[in-house]
Subunit: 641 residues, 2 copies
Amino acid sequence: MNDCTVIFQPSGRRGKVASGLTIVEASRRLGVDIETICGEQRVCGKCKVRVLEGFVENRGIRSDMSHLSPWTSEEGAFISPEERAQGYRLGCAARILGDVLIYVPEESRGSVQVVRKEARPIEVTLNPAVKSYAVSVPQPTLQDPTADFERLGQALTAEHGIGRLRIDSRLLSMLPRIIRDCRWKVQVLVWQDQEIIDIRAADAFKPLGLAVDIGTTTLAGYLCDLTTGSLLATVSMMNPQVKYGEDVMSRITYAMMHPGEGLEKMNTEIVDAINALASRAASSCGSTPADICDMTVVGNTLMHHVFLGIDPGALGLSPFPPAIHGPVDVKARDMGVRIHHGAYVYVLPIEAGFVGADNVGVLISQEPYRKEDMALIIDIGTNGELVLGNRTRLISASCATGPALEGAQITFGMRAAPGAIERVRVDPSTLEVDYRVIGREQWKSESNPGDMLARGICGSGILDALAELFGAGVIGKSGAFAPALDSRRFRKGKDGQPCFGIAREEETSIGRDIVITQKDVRQIQLAKGALYTGAKLLMRRMGVTTLDRVLLAGAFGNYVDPERALMVGLFPPCPLDRVQSVGNAAGDGARLALLDRAKRVEAEQIAKQVEYMELTTEPDFQERFIESLHLPHMKDPFPDL
Amino acid sequence: MNDCTVIFQPSGRRGKVASGLTIVEASRRLGVDIETICGEQRVCGKCKVRVLEGFVENRGIRSDMSHLSPWTSEEGAFISPEERAQGYRLGCAARILGDVLIYVPEESRGSVQVVRKEARPIEVTLNPAVKSYAVSVPQPTLQDPTADFERLGQALTAEHGIGRLRIDSRLLSMLPRIIRDCRWKVQVLVWQDQEIIDIRAADAFKPLGLAVDIGTTTLAGYLCDLTTGSLLATVSMMNPQVKYGEDVMSRITYAMMHPGEGLEKMNTEIVDAINALASRAASSCGSTPADICDMTVVGNTLMHHVFLGIDPGALGLSPFPPAIHGPVDVKARDMGVRIHHGAYVYVLPIEAGFVGADNVGVLISQEPYRKEDMALIIDIGTNGELVLGNRTRLISASCATGPALEGAQITFGMRAAPGAIERVRVDPSTLEVDYRVIGREQWKSESNPGDMLARGICGSGILDALAELFGAGVIGKSGAFAPALDSRRFRKGKDGQPCFGIAREEETSIGRDIVITQKDVRQIQLAKGALYTGAKLLMRRMGVTTLDRVLLAGAFGNYVDPERALMVGLFPPCPLDRVQSVGNAAGDGARLALLDRAKRVEAEQIAKQVEYMELTTEPDFQERFIESLHLPHMKDPFPDL
């Protein structure tokens, strides 16, 4: 039996499997989870995947060649001729006979990624941009034949004290009919006390709002009741842009290499994804997307541009200027966003090229500008953004951390999903390893090895491992593995690189040892060096030598162990009890902007106020960066601070 | 040979013709002009008409039955199968064999109606809503990587002192590309000092504007250069709504009888017509519709509603409230209006249900609110609107004049078009008649009878005739023909009604005497009675007994003979030298609003300020109206004023 190379998208997991395995069997070996409700009996159709390579075109209908087993009639029950022509197969039916690239659609992914974007309780003054007013409009008479719109406006002024409203142009065309059908007693939805966006029968309708966080990797949506402020649903899905690359720059490159249609495709995908998110959020609480009357959006600058359909080319070239800093209010329907027909989408402002609307969301949720103490806010998603400051001054910077802290570009790295090793402890004397995986409470030491079913290591696990290996002397100050280490966990890989075993083959679901390699250590060093250098340069610009607080935001920041982060020097020293995880603060910011208009004003002001610091133009940046790679900072790489 | 009843639309001309005539031959008999460039040789295809009745459906393709001669292969060269299925025929090929209703499309109409909507010179302070600014934008650097939009805004503030602009959402998406392609030297089009609607290479572009007057019968467009204010072209066409009826109420009825699709169809037609007008105007001066960066629209309340896609149902029921009084700014592209992609359409405000945006146009062009003297403004289009007042107070009213003053519902009435009798003189001693037709300088007394080619009588001709016949004693005070008149011009018609000949058969192009009947006189009496009563009731409300000025606006008002209008009592007495024709003042108002933003503010203020008076609810309206029918007002029907 020959080995076949299999690549799964969008996870990017790849490996060789024996010829003859089904796609689902192969996915299990490579740590990719495909939904199989029926236990691979070919009766649920949930494991539908799309095979992107390994077959050829044949008279319009793609017929699989030797890379996959022939089409079976059972698949026809779940896959339409159109889908078949696009390469869809059932994962439990099609067997791998050659090299294949397999795309696992969102709906076929078994255990959806653990969304580390749960909503935290937030304190908010309920003052949404979209408000509902009940009003009773006096009917026209021959003595007072004032027009419907002005009549409605007069009633709103008299009953609610709001005036000088305009009306959505499409709604205007229906106004005479609606107001008469409702017998002049109506509920009026008003956006920003400026525009009437809907008129309905009194009390017929509770307006909802959706706060959207377009993460580089994950889209999250928070559905809120605009009349009570309560959170009704949290939904998330993979960002479809992942297929253009894990990082921002490769997506900009994709758009630049495919002028016109590249951006259009990316824009359509992100809008479609938001529509899917809105639909799922609404149906989860018995509503429809048309009930969503307001939407706020945060995202990094690229996602901001792609969502707004703005050519992102300039973001790929120094000095990386965005197209617009200020907030954008745009009719959802003009964007193709299918929510309420009159709704606006509010996109939060941008600070600088690589400090985007997501960071503004972090700021308005953490409000460092209201406090005296000097705070460093670290938002590590697929990129790293830093903000340092207090009520007097705020400086932001962007760090090229790379995606290592999210588990990418690490040999057994994976995103935070069930089976990912998220915590690691190494006994300094025995070098024995204990660990915990996502989705399982018990540590390995408390479990049967076969129950662990580890699939890989996620960002917080990698940082844990690095800190522990350093603490145990397995790794030296420079990040190199100790030369002659006596442990059965220590070995040389095929490429001659040393590596250290974390989970044994029998503890995994992928049938192989999960190890940390020298190269993996280097990736983490580069990421932590970038963050550390950035923070130190910000402190120098600010003229401070100590931090009062460190706030860790974002998917990684939320789960990292602060003590181990300090051990490896992820950020400058700070009392451990002053290091705090603040969750998906960007998403919280989007929610705050949804529920409180004053937060939008605040966002616009703060985005203007934050100074942006370009780190790479600091004359000593390279030097400081290289010094910051060391583990830990026994010698402070910034002695002058 | 049997006689066939033929009705031509949209002119409404009808009559009986001998069976076997071609449609073009019949049109000539009935005074309808169909284009025939090739002299009816069936080779130019210009005489294409649509036969609306007189045939039946047959297996999807309409096959003409006995009412028209069979389809000929020559027609197939000009008429597509689709058009054939809709009933199109060549007017020179199809022969009439039975009763038919024929619609003559705009393009097949021989002599287009004389557009009495020529633009007059207007005095205006050039201050258009759309202005062009040349600006040189500093390029971003690493030291100042400010976003493109804010960078552009800063440059506009520095060079031109305008700030706080927003940008068209579609333009924003192209901003980074445009500004770099133009090497940071650009020309920026700004709407209302609020929104950037276009960015182009410096000096590449001269913005144009189109003022549109949606008349009940005629659409007129005035194309202006927004940088100089000069008038570049005047274009006009029939309002396609004419097919739903000559008057406003029958069009409202059409919309109400066909809920949903009726309005949609009417809206599409009017938008298509405006697009055609814009296209024709632009091409007449070597431009394209995309060069038209601003548009203003006036029209009566129904046309306003139909253009904006607003359900006009409420306009058909007492108390006739419109949907909105205030001005409407709406993106042209959202209306389907194909001009510049970022342009807005400004629709002037409405005073009251039947005193529409057209009347506001009249007001801002005549500015009675700036003067001390008490002016009566009479705008007679297909409806009659009156405004009385001065700088202290303005009162408006709407009069149900009916369309008689436009030549409709008059036996030989026609619109102002070549061949229409527009001036009439009757010698009191001989009762001989002299007259002049549109398109010919010489009076009949100076011409060969066969050269007159009269086709009918238009509004001003009818009023002239009435005044002259009254002055000559042919018609008495009550409007009745004198009982035993000794003139060969006086006779009884087939229906026993007396009538008076104006043009003899040999002087016409229709092969019949053109006469004024007793019924025609009654129609004019009703119209003038309505206007007179309305004006008097306004004067009573205002508390004045005399008028300082009378302004005659609109198609009819522009051509009426003031002396004869006073003779028949079209309006209350006023010194003849104080009666003035002011042309298409509504269209002038649209042009003023296009060229001077201050006029838009003025329009909004004045529309709110004018008091609307509902005439029909005055307790003595009926009584006064009946008294006002008399010729002339020897006894003032308002002795109490």
